[in-house]
């Protein structure tokens, strides 16, 4: 792992205690140019994670709090009419960029907004650009969205449809901290203060290079066999309502490549695939029939164990 990325992760681990896997997955997601969805109860450190990553990676940071009355213009920006003044003889519309024009976006509680506002964000994520009134505005690079959402069963939410969940490369859960980590959390100083004092560890150009490197990681035919076996299993097994799509397969590969970069390998090995598998497929699989009550973790675990490495 490059030294700088190592620093990013170790700094994050000091603040978000006891969640090394989540931190690594988040960085993996960033490296493979995907977007991250964190799903959990309020107050388990979702926002802090986003904050820490933004600070240590040295990215411009914007936070959008999604509420039920949020409008697309509140995210994307708006054109405002400017009256004639001074040298200008006629009035013009001037575009005021919204909060989405930043390198790292924290879309907080995305499922509290209406579908209209949700899709405004998701479209921008997909296309890396915003078109308003016929004018296309490029979003900055790197562009990374961390969205958080409360579990769907909470009151006052608009759950994201499956097709939109697919826009996120990974979905992870934070989970409660273990007793020791929580003790430290409770007894220590205010996290917000530490976060504000964090220094960037990575240049944004370096980040782009790392992203490039992740795309160039070698994938052998033997590994493709394994990935295909996983995809095939989800399509043939009775446990799932539907199998993984080819896009899910591509997502799995690109995440595994980024994970291999974190491990400083130039080829993907099955362990990489297994490591990113829960994050990549858990929001893309739905249990069917008698398995419907299983939670997504168990589902992914079953998948992992069912497919032999060829």
């Amino acid at each position: 792992m490059s030294l700088s990325l190592h620093n990013v992760i170790s700094q994050a681990e000091q603040i978000i205690v006891g969640k090394p896997l989540q931190i690594r997955l988040a960085v993996t997601c960033l490296l493979s140019r995907g977007h991250l969805l964190i799903e959990d109860l309020p107050g388990v450190g979702k926002t802090t994670l986003a904050h820490v990553l933004a600070r240590t990676l040295g990215l411009q940071f914007q936070r959008i709090q999604f509420t039920s009355d949020l409008l697309p213009a509140d995210i994307l920006g708006v054109s405002v009419y400017q009256r004639a003044s001074g040298e200008q003889t006629t009035g013009v519309f001037k575009f005021h960029p919204g909060p989405i024009f930043a390198q790292m976006i924290l879309a907080d509680e995305i499922n509290r907004a209406t579908p209209k506002a949700q899709s405004a964000l998701l479209e921008a994520m997909e296309e890396q650009q915003v078109t308003i009134e016929g004018v296309t505005h490029e979003l900055p690079t790197p562009f990374f969205v961390i969205a958080t959402q409360n579990p769907a069963y909470q009151i006052g939410t608009f759950p994201l449809p499956e097709s939109q969940l697919d826009r996120f490369l990974m979905r992870i859960q934070m989970g409660y901290p273990d007793a020791q980590a929580e003790r430290g959390l409770l007894s220590g100083i205010d996290r917000r203060e530490i976060v504000s004092q964090l220094n960037p560890q990575v240049e944004s150009s370096e980040l782009l290079t790392l992203q490039k490197r992740a795309r160039a990681v070698f994938v052998s035919p033997a590994l493709l066999d394994y990935v295909q076996a996983i995809l095939l299993h989800t399509r043939e097994s009775a446990r799932y309502t539907h199998g993984l799509s080819p896009r899910a397969g591509l997502a799995l590969l690109s995440a595994a490549r980024a994970w291999a970069v974190l491990d400083e390998r130039d080829a993907v090995i099955p362990e990489d695939v297994q490591a990113v598998l829960p994050g990549v497929v858990s929001h893309r699989l739905q249990a069917a029939g008698e398995y419907a009550k299983q939670n997504s973790d168990a589902l992914v675990h079953e998948l992992l164990e069912a497919v032999a490495i060829p």
Partner: protein
Amino acid sequence: MSKSLNYGLLLSILMVVAPHAEHLTVWVSILCGVLLVWRTYLNYSSRPQPKKWLLMLITFAGTGGVAMSFHTLFGREVGVTLLMLLATLKLMELRSERDAMAVIYLALFIIITNFFYSQSIPTALYMLATLFVVTVTWIQLHGQNIPFKPRLRTAAILLLQAIPLTLILFILFPRVQGPLWGLPQDAYSTSGLDDRMSPGSLSRLSLSEAVAFRVSYKNNPPLREQMYWRGPVMWYFDGRTWTTGKTTGQLTAPQLTNLDQSIDYTVTLEPHNKTWLFALDIPEKVSLPATLSYDFRLYSKKPVNARIRYEARSNLGYRANLQESGLHIERALQIPTQFNPKAQKLAAGWKASSASDAEIIQAALSYFSQQGFKYTLEPPPLGTNGIDDFIFETKQGFCEHYASAFVFLMRVANVPARVVTGYLGGEFNDIGNYYIVRQSDAHAWAEVWLKGQGWVRVDPTGVIAPARIQSGLSAAVSNNAALPFMARNPPQWLRNLSLNWDALSNQWNQWVLGYDNERQFAFLTRLGMESVTWQKMAMNMAAGLVILVALFALFMLRHLFVRMRNDKVQVAWLKLCKKLSKSGIPRAAHEGALDYAARVGTARPELAESLHDLAIRYSALRYGKAQGEQAIREFLQRISAVKT
């Protein structure tokens, strides 16, 4: 079933059935045609296929009709007819993929049946085209989404790939002596010489361009006027028709003396369903089991119903039967006295005024040459006294008229004589260096028996139309419009084309159709196979097929080899895992190498380091970019050093 697939199936069946239309019973051809048109219309207008009961009705009616036409349901003709009918009917019920499959198999099978009737190069080429169409349809059946052009290409590749297989099977498949199953006598209904001759029978035959046989001479060919190929010999005359007649009593073998001018040649005889073989006068020996009859005909025991090839030696100079038995002299003098009184009177006059038989012959020949006789393919019809009419009225005739009249006159004048039919001359093919003798070269001449000379050939046609003897029919006949095109004088390029084609057909006959066990043995011996037996051939064939299939398989699986090298690594790793699992730590199927090494390492710390190293190496070899042999060897060494 898609529309275009149906069209493909329709075309396949049409192509295999079409050549049969010529020899099928007329109503079957019409029924098949109607069914095909009907099916095409249904497909075109997307109408439903006919109801099942209607199809049943047509099937039973058709089968009944075939049974009534042939009075049987067994045999080749009936079999082929039924196949045609049922194949066409099958097209009317294309419901599932299985039906389409059945149609395709039927089409493939019917391709073979066409060779019952013709085995020529055009037929073979046409069947190849048919096979291609069927293959294209077959591919369409299994890959509906394959576009048209790639489908054609795949079919072409498939057929090309079949060529080596075909060659091996063709060359090495053990041939049995004679045909594998007896083809019925009606295998070939060809025209040819008959054992009876009446006015008009030979001139009719000369209109046929069909090849009778081909000859290649070992050394120099004889003169054209010596190329008399003897066929049936006619002894008995009933006033109009000559027949071979019946022989009674002891048949004596021919006595041939003063033999001279021997000549060796090879004849490839087209099947003619008769027993006689053709040889130049007079044959001395022949490479087939054949008999030389008392009247010098060569015949085999069985009718010639397949193309045969034989070598023969003849002597152009000879004295035949200087002593002839009284029985045959008597037969050679037989005439129906109630007919042709004028001719009898004429010959009686010659007899009275001549001192010897030779003079009588001369008188007859000069009569023909001086009385304005004409050589023509279309002589006027003759009445009851045919010879009288011919000699005194019409004076126009073809060779059979002259031979017949001459022999009749000789017999009246008490000179023993007989009519000989056969072929004269032939066309030289300088491309293949052989002679083509066609039905249009059929000829009739006379033979007289003279004391001290035996049987002597006299050809009265030579007096009237010497060109017929020296250069062929087209030169002799003034109005040759009725002759087959190639027997006239076609333009040089067309003639060359025709000769080229015939040379090619000849090679085809010799090497493809005539590739019998003898040729096979000779060919394989020349290829270097020692003591050829059919067991050996079968073994070689099987071996050849296996090798060929293996080569194809290797070619198609070639990308596996790249992995095979790495597979050594995989095998060694799995072996190690197995060993470790015996010591109580089995690897789960989904467990990666690094994970497993870590797990084993915690249970058995003494192995942790070496296993971790191996796992990293294994992962790099199996999942990384290709590495050199060195890395593989090092891995294998280290893995064998691990003590579990």
